[in-house]
Amino acid sequence: MASEKNVTTTGLLGWIDTRFPLTKLYKEHLSEYYAPKNFNFFYFFGSLAMVVLALQIITGIFLTMHYKPDASLNAAGVPVAFASVEYIMREVPFGWLIRYMHSTGASAFFVVVYLHMWRGLIYGSYRSPRELIWIFGCAIFLCLMAEAFFGYLLPWGQMSYWGAQVIVNLFSAVPLIGPDLSVWIRGDFVVGDATLNRFFAFHVIAIPLVLVGLVAAHIIALHEVGSNNPDGVEIKKNKNAEGIPLDGIPFHPYYSVHDILGIAGFLILFCAVVFFAPELGGYFLEFNNFIPADPLVTPPHIAPVWYFTPFYSMLRAVTDLFTWVMVASAGLGALAVLRARWPMMIKGGAIAALLVLAITFRVFDAKFWGVVIMGGAVIILFFLPWLDHSPVKSIRYRPNWHKALYMVFLVNFFILGYLGVLPPFPFGQAYSLVGTVFYFAFFALMPIWSRIGDFKPVPERVTFKPH
C-alpha cells in the first residue's frame, strides 16, 4: 500500500505520512492555502468564531463537572440547578472565572458571528462558487441559536425559566398539533425537571456535535473554493507559472500571525468584560436571572438575551394587523406572477397557491405567523446566494444607493434588537412592524433591486496597500 503513495518526508513524519495525510493536510489548509492578501478588519471574525467555539467547549466541559441539571429544591428551598451554579461561583477554585468565560463567551460568540455574517453580506461572499459555505454558515447560525436557547435554561433562574416557557409555548400555536407538540418538547405540561434535563442533553452533546461537524464542513468548503475578499475579485483567475494565485499569500504564516493579533485584540475586550463587568449592565447576565426559577411567579417583563432580540421584535410585530400586511404581500406577489412571462399552467398554479396562502394568513392565529416570521427571518438567509443578482460581488463596486440601503438594513436590525429588549410600547410596536416588513422586503425584492443602478468597474486584481 505504502509504495503506491509518493511520500517525500522521512523519519517519524514520513512514517506518519505513509499512514495518514498529515503533511498533505498541513499544506492544503495552512502552508499552501492561498488567501487573498487584501483582507481587512472584518476578516478577523471567522478565526475569532473558532476561538470562541473552542473556549465555549473547554469551559463548558469544566462547568459540566460541577453543574447539576436538577429542578428539585434543596434543603434551603433553592433549586439544585441554581444552587450548583452558585457552588461553581463560590466553592470551585476559579469556578467563577470558568463560568464568566462561558457566559461572556455566549454573547461574544454572537458578536463575532454577526460581524462575520455582515462581512459575508457586504462583500458577496455567498455568491458562486461559495453558496455551500454560506449555507453551512447559516446552519451554524441556526445551531448557535439553538445552543444558546438550550443553554440559557440551565442556570434555572427566572429568565431562564420564563424565556423557555414563552418560546416553547410558541409551538403550541402550530395549527392542529400545536398543544401536543409543545408538551412533547417540554416533556411535561409546564417547563420542569424533564425539560431541564433534555435541554442539558441538547446543550452539552447533541447540538455541539452538529455544530462542530458543520464548522468542519464550512471550512472544508471554504478551502475547496478559496476565500473571497473585500474586492470580490477571484484571485484564482490570475495565477503565476506554478499555479499560485498572484494575489494570494500562504495562510500560514501570514494570516496565522495576523489572526494572533486579532485574538490578542479580542481577548483584551473579552477579558475586560469577564473581569470587570461580567453582567455587562444586565445584557450578558440578566439581573432577573439571579432569582431562582419559580413556576408560580411570572416576571413582569420577559426579555430574551440581546442576541435574540431582533428576531424577538419580529415575533412581537406579528399581530392581527400584520397578518393583513402579509395578505397584501401575497396579493402583490400574485399580481407580479400575473405579469410574468410564464406558461399559463404554472402561472395559474402559483396564483392559486398565493391566494390560498393569503386565506391561511387570516385563518390561523397571528401567534403562529409570528413564529413563522421569526423562523423565516433566519431561513431567508439560506436563499441569499440566489436572491442577489447584482453584476458585482463586493459592496465597493455597487451603486452608492446600494451602500445606503445596506446601512439602513444594519440600522434597522439594531433598532429591532433594541426594541426587543424593551417591554412593548405603541411606537415600538409600530416601528417593529415597519422594520420587519423592511427586513423581509430587503431580501424578497433583492432579485429586482440588486440589478439596478450604475455599477463601478471591478479591477482585475485586488487592491492592496503594503503595510
Binding site: 485574538i263 470587570f276 446601512m407 429588549v421 487592491t463
Partner: protein, 237 residues
Amino acid sequence: MRRVKDLTMKKLFKSFLAAIAVSLTFAAAPAAFAAGGPVALDAIPAQKLSDRAAMQNGAKTFMSYCLGCHGLSAMRYSRLADIGMTEEQIKAVMPPGAKPGDYIRTSLNRAEAKDWFGAAPPDLSVTARSRSSHSGAGTDWIYTFLRTYYEDASRPTGWNNKTYVGVGMPHVLWDAQKSKSPAEFDSMVGDLAAFLNYVSEPAQFSRKTIGMVVMAFLAIFFVLAWRLNKVYWKNIK
C-alpha cells in the same frame, strides 16, 4: 485607484460606526420605559462596598436581625474570614449548634413561613445581584428598601414599604431605627447592604485584582503580536 478603494473601506467602516451610533441614540430615547420601581433609589455610600469593617458590621446585623427568616444558603460561615473576621468573631455570630463549615441557613420552616407571611422568605445569597435594574444597583435597592418602611394599618403586619409596595416582611429593623439617629440607621443599613453585596459574589474583589494582571499581560501580548505581524507582512508587496 488604490487610494480610492482605501477611502471606500474607511468610509464604509465609518458609516458602520455611524450606523451603530445612530441606532444607539435612537435606542436611548425609550429607555425610560425600561426603568421601573415606584421610588427613585438612594445610592449606597460607595466606599462601604469595599470597606471590610462595614461588611463585618453588616454580617453581625444579618446574623442578629435577618437569619431568623432568611438564609444565605450558598455561603458557609467559615467564608466570613474572607472579609477579615477571625475564627472567634465568626463563632460569636454563629447561631448555637452551627459549625463553621455549615451553610448559612435559616432554621425557619418554609411551609410554616408561607402560612404566616404569604410567601416563604427568600434566600438572600444573590439578592444584591438580582435586585439590580437599570434604575440602580441591587445594593442601592436594598439600601433604599430597608429605609422606606412606613406604618400602614391596612397591612396584616401593620407595615408597608414605599420601595416594595405590599411587602410581606414586617419592619424588622424597627427597634434599631427607633433607637438610632437617622444617620446611624442609614449607616447600619448601608453596612448590611455592603455585606449582602459581598455575599452575592465573594469572588468580586479578587476578580478585579486578577483582572488587572490579565489586562497587563494581554497588553504586552498585543504589542508583541502586533510587531510580529508587522515583521511578517513587511514582505508582502
